[in-house]
Amino acid sequence: MYNTGKVLTGLVLFVGFITYPFWGGEASPVPKLQKPEKEKQCIEPVAFMRAQHMQMLDDWRNDVVRQATRKYTAVDGKQHNMSLQNTCMKCHTSKKEFCDKCHTYAGVSPFCWTCHVPPKETT
């Protein structure tokens, strides 16, 4: 093999560079999200919502638009209107302080808001 030293050094540097986020520096702090003032409890437990809200919203939109089903029965038996704008955002009144903060942290950009209207956009 030619230039063994150079190639190996280059490889080590490259691997080091791309794995830097895993071993170097500190993880950025988990963002503090604005919690609703009135409600203490989301429609499902926080852990479930944190992990599954995207799946849930996807199911909701199919149920509402395609199956003409508009009521969601939570685990605690309470019924809710399946609506991002009219249910979720009635408690989570700030897209900026709730949705965006965590989405930015997680590096995801869902396209809900290209159609759905967040509460604060009009003020």
Partner: protein, 264 residues
């Protein structure tokens, strides 16, 4: 050669015959396969409704108020450019609404009359038949021809397919208009706006109908100009009215079986 020309032609002929008599024709029946997909009931489920509307143009109504009620509720942008305009419900003269039925000796009343036009929520909609993704579909439980904006790919086949010009395409970003509150309009925070690149149209206010309410345009009428009801229920108000009034439908000859009836 393993297969000669005669053999090939024999096989080709045989498969054609099988295709035409067997599975082939089944595929041509619109809606069948759609209905057999999981989560869908057959289109003519027993007890299924077919929402319809009677448009009585002989009544005095503030038709403009009906249009505004709909367009404000659904955040339909008002675009001045005729080529890009988006409309769910609008007004048009007789010869546009009933082409082929106009006469050179039409009464002055008819010539002046602006007819209310909206999606016909056809019993056999051509737009649903042509849509390649089921983004537009017929709700099996009540016959509303619905749009799934999350799924529409913007191919506009439905616009070519609809014989009534009831469909609009979002050529540009439609939110700019809605969000800048043009002409003193307020955005309705309870209803979404749209993205550019999708087709939209009247949904018979599916979101209100599901709550047991009447469509917004019907609610805005004062003198019974619009009557909404179940065409499959012989005792419904709309069926009673259809029994006693002379009504016509738009382009019945194209076989779409529209659910909007007009007293002209």
């Amino acid at each position: 050669m393993a297969i000669d020309r005669r053999d090939f032609l024999k096989v080709a002929g045989l498969t054609t015959v099988i295709g035409l008599t067997g599975g082939g024709l089944e595929l041509l029946r619109p809606g069948d396969l759609d209905a057999s997909a999981p989560g869908h009931e057959p289109a003519a489920a027993p007890g299924a409704k077919q929402w319809g509307m009677l448009v009585d143009m002989s009544r005095k109504e503030n038709w403009q108020a009906c249009i505004e009620a709909c367009h404000n509720l659904h955040n339909v942008p008002s675009i001045d450019d005729k080529k890009e305009e988006i409309k769910w419900i609008w007004q048009a003269p007789f010869q546009e609404v009933f082409p082929g039925s106009e006469s050179a000796y039409m009464s002055d009343v008819m010539k002046a009359r602006q007819f209310m036009v909206l999606c016909n929520h056809c019993a056999e909609p051509a737009c649903v038949r042509v849509c390649p993704t089921k983004a537009t579909f017929k709700r099996p439980e009540d016959g509303i021809v619905m749009m799934d904006m999350h799924r529409c790919i913007g191919c506009r086949f439905c616009m070519a397919g609809c014989p009534y010009g009831a469909r609009s395409f979002n050529w540009r970003e439609p939110r700019l208009d809605a969000l800048t509150l043009k002409g003193g309009r307020k955005i309705n925070l309870e209803y979404p706006t749209r993205e550019r690149g999708v087709v939209e149209k009247c949904t018979f206010c599916a979101e209100r109908v599901d709550e047991g309410k009447q469509p917004a345009c019907v609610e805005a009428t004062r003198n019974g100009g619009l009557v909404f009801g179940d065409l499959n229920d012989p005792h419904s108000e709309i069926r009673q009215l259809l029994r006693v009034k002379s009504t016509i439908r738009r382009k019945p000859e194209v076989g779409t079986n529209p659910s909007i009836f007009y007293v002209v």
